[in-house]
């Protein structure tokens, strides 16, 4: 399948090392292009597809009847309309928290237990694989989050406020890094998330495979690590702040094409 992924990584390190010699931006663009050649996210996608169809959990059931917002079992197009309001839970949910709901209602898993599990472990690793599979089925489609219910509108407004809230030892907010066009941290380009940052950028790029640590990162983990670097306390998995932020970013990204699963440095 992806035997050349390692070779690509090795070459990519070589490219990264020689960046000094040429224009930094050119070097990075080349590096990213080479990464696109082999994306190990495919492995997580395949794992997720298996988990979706497999009978598991105390109820020995598959997830094939899970309603991701477009009716039971409809996967295609679901990702680009999430987060959205779900009547059965009375909540606005993102992809990952919705998957966990289905794992509880259909398969009998304990949702609270899963939500407390560290990323990359146990059932949380399965949630990430499932999210990768489901999101990949919408690859190339354009974001179009519903803003029809009062709950969805409220989450957008709350998400906007969460985005600009400053805190932690460094007074950072999401907007400190993602509030303007054309900015960088070190050599890393930063998308402006207060508007549509473009196809496959920002909200339209996660879940993504991260080459630097060899992990598949879901949006929940992406946000979790943002808050770590912001020196804030830790956001709980599936908490309202994380979902409100996703609504804010997702609505802003209306019309952006999903590149998920992306591959990142």
């Amino acid at each position: 399948m992806k035997q050349h992924a390692l070779a690509v990584a090795v070459v990519a390190i070589g490219v990264a090392a020689s960046v000094q010699a040429q224009s930094a931006a050119d070097g990075i663009a080349k590096y990213r292009e080479m990464l696109q050649d082999g994306n190990p996210a495919e492995l997580y996608e395949a794992k997720g597809e298996g988990l979706w169809k497999q009978k598991r959990g105390p109820k020995n059931a598959s997830l094939e009847q899970c309603d991701l917002g477009k009716g039971p079992g409809v996967i295609k197009g679901a990702f680009v309309e999430l987060p959205r309001f779900f009547k059965d839970t009375g909540r606005v949910q993102d992809l990952e928290s919705r998957v966990v709901t289905c794992m509880e209602t259909l398969q009998g898993f304990n949702a609270a237990e899963i939500s407390k599990t560290p990323f990359g472990r146990g059932e949380m690793a399965n949630v990430t694989a499932l999210a990768t599979y489901i999101a990949t089925e919408s690859k190339g489609m354009r974001f179009n989050l519903p803003q029809t219910t009062s709950q969805e509108k409220a989450m957008f407004e709350a998400g906007k406020r969460a985005f600009f809230m400053r805190g932690g030892t460094h007074d950072f907010s999401c907007a400190s890094c993602h509030g303007e066009d054309g900015k960088r941290i070190r050599l890393q380009d930063l998308p402006n998330l207060t508007k549509n940052p473009g196809d496959g950028i920002g909200f339209a790029a996660w879940p993504a495979y991260r080459v630097s640590n060899g992990q598949m990162w879901s949006m929940q983990l992406r946000l979790n690590d943002c808050y770590r670097q912001m020196r804030w306390p830790e956001p709980k998995f599936g908490s309202d702040v994380t979902i409100a932020l996703s609504v804010y970013m997702g609505v802003n990204a209306k019309g952006a094409e999903s590149a998920v699963p992306a591959i990142k440095r």
Binding site: N110, F164, G167, G168, P233
Partner: protein, 216 residues
């Protein structure tokens, strides 16, 4: 929905219920966001929940960002004055330390995250946002370039009377940037205990010492 989630439906439900007739106001959304924040975070390692507390400056600046209306002059002045009062000047009267150690501090982005511990030596995170020395090409652009910082400001002898104003301003800016710009995005390195006095002296030397690579 047998097993209840630790998810917080309350603020949202309450908001939606009270909002039927007129629709929620911006103040309702403010409260919702504040309640949500309280319920959504947990302490981890050295990152305690007190880090969510909003001081006057952070609360006012965030509100200005959300509404798109800049702070009025009175609030701006009050924030800058309050932050000015926090500035502690060097206890030994020395503003400049060793630029080489300053470069190490400017390079380091370590410290104060939940994956650090209390013993971690904090970095200044300076290169994340600023160009500083010309040799380091991996620099961020969130803040202005600081290359030739002292030279451009005519600092040939940091101890001279002619340099006093810019030296003091630079110390104050590093110590608490909000004393000079109410809603500055720059961390308050001294005020928030990110860098200690000695580290600040080293970063000062990186910026202002005529021998520093910054000023070549």
């Amino acid at each position: 929905m047998k097993k209840s989630f630790a998810w917080t439906l309350l603020p949202l439900t309450a908001l939606v219920l009270t909002a039927c007739s007129t629709g929620p106001s911006p103040a309702d959304y403010d409260k919702m966001a504040a309640d949500m924040t309280k319920a959504s975070f947990q302490e981890r390692g050295i990152a305690k929940l007190s880090r969510l507390d909003q001081d006057q400056a952070n609360a006012a600046c965030a509100q200005a960002d959300v509404s798109g209306k800049p702070l009025d002059d009175k609030v701006t002045k009050a924030i800058e004055e309050a932050n000015m009062k926090t500035i502690k000047w060097p206890s030994d009267g020395k503003f400049l330390g060793d630029w080489k150690q300053g470069e190490t501090i400017a390079q380091s982005g370590r410290g104060l995250t939940w994956s650090d511990n209390a013993q971690t030596t904090n970095g200044g995170n300076c290169y994340n946002c600023h160009q500083i020395s010309k040799e380091e090409i991996s620099f961020g652009t969130l803040g202005p370039s600081l290359y030739n910082y002292g030279k451009l400001r005519g600092v040939t002898d940091p101890n001279s009377a002619a340099s006093k104003a810019i030296v003091e301003y630079t110390w104050g800016k590093l110590y608490n940037a909000r004393a000079y710009n109410a809603c500055s995005q720059m961390p308050r390195a001294g005020h928030m205990g990110i860098l200690n006095e000695q580290q600040l002296q080293h970063v000062m030397a990186l910026l202002l010492d005529p021998k520093s690579p910054v000023n070549q």
